[in-house]
Amino acid sequence: MTASSIPDLGSNSLSTSDPAAVRSWLSKHHPKQLALLDKFEIELRLGRLSSTTKAGPDGVIAAVGATSTSDRLLVTRRTVGLLKHIIGATRWKNGAQLLVLLRGLGRELHEVGGFREPVIENIVRRVMAAVREEAAGEPDGKATDTGRLSLQSILWALPQHVKSPSNRSLSRTDSHQRQSSIASEADLESTNEFPPAFYVNRPELKQTVMEAIQEIVTELEDVYGNIEDQATNHIHAGEVILTYGKSKTIERFLIAAAEKKRTFQVVVCEDSPSFGGHEMAKSLAKAGIDTIVIHDSAIFAVMARVNKVLLSAHAVLANGGLVASSGSNMVALGAYNNAVPVVVITGMFKLCPMFPHEGQDTLNDLVSPSKVMDITEIKDDLLSSVELINPVHDYVKPEHVSLYVTNVGSFQPSYIYRLLAEYYHTDDWKSFE
């Protein structure tokens, strides 16, 4: 994009967010970090991230984290860990350089599999927002330009709208804010991607950024706890709750309610063809919850007796819509037609700053149909030309979702857009593609 306009800030610094440039920069200056990145990418491609940063031999990884692809929180935590490590160990002088590096990493991760796991991009954006916040602050820690409500920040949010003359006048009127700036007037004119304060070399920035990342890590650690605390607000005695497939968040939510002496029934849909519902039902039953397993086809039939539907999320979209495992939309429609509330239980790290312009294709993925029809059944020519489709996800419209229960509180779908501003900076919204 505007990478070309970034001045070369010295041979040691990264000048563009191109993934290849990031890799070559890392290999030149920080080979250890590059090795770490490679390892993460390999695990991501294989779909088995191990739960610790230091993974053992391959066999161990497979044994420990075989199911980890469905555990988005783990993916998020691993990504933060990686970012933290790279940010902490690499050499950069100011916020702008760091943001260029992070964007480069974001693109790199998107390419190797991030498009399947939107949480990775989310957390990169989140860290970028934190960096922006810290970099915009005064050296003494007092935030002056946090990028929220000031007119100036709104202008900077869309720098292409800021014409050079106005830029000049702006810099004149606000010059007192940048008295400590060592950036020259010429620098300011040639760079319009980041606010001027971002180009100030600040040695203490690394520490504040690391603190900000640590805050994010702490929040991620508390995700389940914060969600579980709300369980009794939503589940009361004697309810019949329907849930679809397997979700660790929902499992812990329900078990938390059961532990607080709420007695209720859970109807679990099997989620064919992946059958996540079977595992879910088993662990719920083991926790002492009255569990019934049904075929996906019986969803509408059973819906007449259901009080509440709980859905899990693959991603929460900017319009309040939901991307969840395929088949969820049918559940949501069934609930909507029976006036049953649909409650989505999710951590807010799944919030994606994107709109579902592609409908059902949004963040979707088509995988092998071997579970739809076994290859051994396609013996004769008759079946060889049949189209078999096995999508992984479904998009659910915001009007079919009643409530989002998240680690930061419960919200209506119509409020979700507001949370975006809290998590990400508008400049980082664009995709890492």
């Binding site: 064919s272 079977h278 397993v293 086809s297 509408f300 039939a301 429609l333 049949v386």
Partner: protein, 490 residues
Amino acid sequence: MTTEGDQQKAAAAAESKKEKKKPEGLVIPPKKPKLSKAERRALQEQQRAAKAAAKQQPEPPKGAADPQNEPGKQNATKNDAGSAGKDDAARDAVQDKSDQKTVSLFSHLPPYRDPKSVVETGPHLWPKGVSLPSTTFPLHPAVIELGYQYAKGEIRGGNARCRAMLAAFHQVIGDFEPPTNNGGLTDMRHQIDQWILKPSFQYWTASCRPHSVTMGNAFTFLKTAVASLERDMTRDDMVEMIQETIDAYIRERIDLAKQAIAQQPALQLSTTSTTTTNNNNPQVFLTYGKSEAIAAIFRNMAASDQHSSSSFRVIIVDSRPLLEGKDLLLELRASGIECSYVLLNALTYVMRDVTKVYLGASALMSDGGVLGRVGTACVALSAHMHHIPVLVCCESYKISNRVQLESITGNELGDPSQVAMTTNASSSDDDDNNNNNGALKDWLETDNLRLLNLLYDLTPSEFVSGIVTELGIIPPTSVAVLLREMNPQN
């Protein structure tokens, strides 16, 4: 339909099985009901029934309610078959377990019966809670064999079950000879009704599998037909008359009706409007599971297609456990129709391309609701929400005078262990747990865990744009009108 050899084999098998447990051979089904024996048996049965009735009250509910331990025969059973007793105990244990595993929300529905228990219970041993008919005429082997096929699910689908039932009656009535000792029932019409129709139907319904609406309608029709015969016809005339009636019913109400549906002018790929049916913009039809009428419609379309086979394609949505869509897929592919095959989870994904949805039905409720294979309502709902027309295709003999608001009040429970299976291969008829490596394979041992296998669901009439019958396409609200037109006497 089966060959005679098969029946004899089945009868012989049943006989030998019985003989092990009951050496006296009191109630062995004959290969063909023969006159002299039948008469003796009827007498014996009457005595036995009277005895049982006398002793029925004080019996403890558990063991003695099991018809195998009838008081009169208790000694004999115990003496000769210790193993049978063990079997009983085992079965009782299973029964207890499955009692725990019934879902309280659905406890009003009759529990699923393992087809094996149908065989073990035997043809004459009426299940718990079914009162013995006053005159027990032994059930014909064809009836028993069909009952087993019903229970096992070998014959399923509204049309197939009804056809099989009528075919069985056709055969049984053909074999019927009025006994000389008729126990007071001199009218052959009553004999057929009391000794053949009623007990057979009751056996199928109570011991094997609850009857479908199609079977119920056909049975009512047959009863009425028999009752309205002339009293003083000869045996041969009467049998011929009844058989003709049965054949006509199968031909007109099922087979010809299906053809008439397929040839409904409104369903044809329109030849006049070239805008919708050119090759650039082919019609995409979606259907669920398997239905004879739907298959006939698509075959007819393919046959009359003037452009090429690519002016329409069919998306078949299927779901576990029956995966009946695979049969339809093979059938349509054999007719050269372009097909897609997806499971229910991909429903929303494929729905955007669809121009029309065709669904089959097991029964039509008189309020316009459609009772169909479980999952039908999900498909109709999804299409309705996408504003895609939903056409339900069914023969008019499937119209029921019942009304149902949702799927739960009237439904049928299937084998719960099918839910635990994780294979999508077509259901194999051998041991259920053979190829089950899923997370739920030990569900019977897991506390708090129950599996529910509903067989039907009710599609509310709001989701249905039109109902295609052999009499035309009607809105769902007019089903009641059609019902009234068809049965003016009610």
